[in-house]
């Protein structure tokens, strides 16, 4: 089995970013009230993660060349912040309809730990590191994030109509729902090969 396919299945199911790696929990809890907004956020995250993976991989080669790898975190977060600003400007100029649907979520992604997480993971954890595996890892992690976000949003829409004990309303019931989802996703660990 090619390594990239392993990364795709791993990123979406086995090592799901939200439910097994605990990255990007804030938007997972915050932006999962409606399926439409969840989808918008998810698409924005996939896009940004793909772009970030490519750019930070290149930058890391440069950092290694100059022997200043300890600056990794600072450089990566600045690049991500700048990249998101740039994407926002470009989308606003050339795809106004996409901008109106993604616009609100783009600035939020800067502090989404999933994006910085995938950038750091690409240069520390992957077995074969090249620009293609980084890109695949970024995209499939983003898809995994979107999948979890969408399932959560679907469940929360139904939860609105159910009777929940007063104390459990809001975050607690969402966390317990997430726990049950995570339990289901644990079963994918059997897929590891």
């Amino acid at each position: 089995m090619p390594y990239w396919l392993y990364l795709v299945i791993g990123g979406i199911f086995i090592n799901n970013f939200v439910l097994s790696r605990f990255l990007g929990i804030c938007p997972f809890l915050g932006v999962s009230k409606k399926t439409e907004t969840a989808l918008g956020m998810g698409l924005a995250v996939i896009f940004v993660m793909g772009m970030t993976s490519i750019i930070t991989f290149g930058l890391n080669l440069l950092l290694k060349e100059l022997n200043i790898e300890y600056l990794q975190t600072i450089v990566f977060i600045l690049v991500i912040a700048a990249l998101i600003q740039l994407i926002e400007i470009v989308i606003k100029r050339f795809a106004p309809s996409l901008y109106t649907s993604l616009g609100v979520y783009l600035p939020l992604i800067t502090t989404n730990c999933a994006v910085l997480g995938v950038a750091i993971m690409n240069v520390t954890e992957l077995a074969t590191q090249n620009i293609f595996t980084s890109f695949v890892n970024g995209i499939s992690s983003g898809i995994g994030f979107t999948l979890a976000l969408l399932i959560m949003a679907g469940i929360r829409e139904k939860l609105e109509y159910s009777e929940i004990p007063e104390r459990f309303k809001g975050f607690p019931i969402t966390l317990i729902t997430a726990s049950i989802m995570a339990m289901a996703f644990t079963a994918f660990a059997g897929l590891s090969f």
């Binding site: 990255l23 975190t73 600072i74 977060i77 644990t186």
Partner: protein, 240 residues
């Protein structure tokens, strides 16, 4: 910003501290910084390590942002804040790597990820950029201690149930290393413990708050008949 000439009162200094630990508890009240809360709380000592790292970064970032609050232009404040936070989180990362390699291995990815921990950006933006240096530092200490307390508490629960130990010392007679209750170490258990602890914490804090309010009313109200009437009213309301 307007308070340049005003003197700091004792309350200005202590209230951010107590607020940070209880009323604005980052984990259970504000629900910020959830990623490390869930990911690294598989043991209590991890919780303390992570909490103190965040405490350090938060105090330093709050102090610097508060000092520069009139210098940083409004439009570029977010990148500026992120840069300040990233500097301190890199310092923490390098120090932990050099002096506590075990902890560094356990926290792994989540140590550099302190940069994007929403607690930091939220406090810097909503408190330090509007307040003077000393209250900002106290707010950093308060929020940091509250975060350390709550994630250590979560770590204690998960470690006790999942591995049967307390700070690495095996104490649970039923659950041992040979027969672990793996659920609580798995991600699913993290979500579950977090949700339940949030309910318990908020109920207990609300109960204590209500008790204190009632007692305050007794103390101040006993002086006058009017006070006694209002006390009676609150008691009947409490009875509902």
């Amino acid at each position: 910003m307007s308070g340049k000439t005003e003197k700091l009162t004792f309350k200005d200094i202590t209230s951010p501290l107590t607020n940070g630990i209880i009323n604005n508890n980052a984990t259970f009240r504000l629900v910020l910084g959830t990623c490390p809360t869930l990911a690294i709380t598989t043991s209590a000592s991890n919780g303390i390590g992570m909490g103190l790292s965040v405490l350090f970064v938060l105090v330093c970032a709050n102090a610097i942002v508060s000092l520069l609050r009139n210098v940083i232009p409004r439009k570029v404040r977010i990148p500026a804040y992120i840069l300040i936070i990233a500097t301190f989180s890199t310092i923490v990362e390098m120090v932990v790597r050099a002096f506590l390699p075990d902890l560094y291995d356990k926290l792994g990815l989540f140590l550099p990820l302190i940069v994007v921990n929403c607690i930091l950006l939220a406090r810097v933006e909503s408190f330090a950029s509007l307040n003077r240096v000393i209250p900002s530092i106290m707010d950093g200490i308060g929020i940091g201690l509250g975060f350390t307390f709550s994630i250590t508490l979560m770590g204690i629960f998960r470690e006790f149930l999942g591995a049967g130990s307390f700070f690495g010392i095996p104490i649970n007679p039923i659950i041992t290393a040979e027969l672990p209750m793996t659920f609580f170490i798995l991600p699913a258990g993290g979500f579950m413990v977090y949700g339940l602890l949030m309910v318990v914490f908020n109920s207990v804090v609300d109960k204590i708050q209500k008790f204190l309010d009632n007692r305050r009313q007794v103390n101040s109200g006993a002086k006058s008949i009017k006070g006694r009437i209002s006390l009676a009213e609150t008691e009947t309301q409490g009875g509902k």
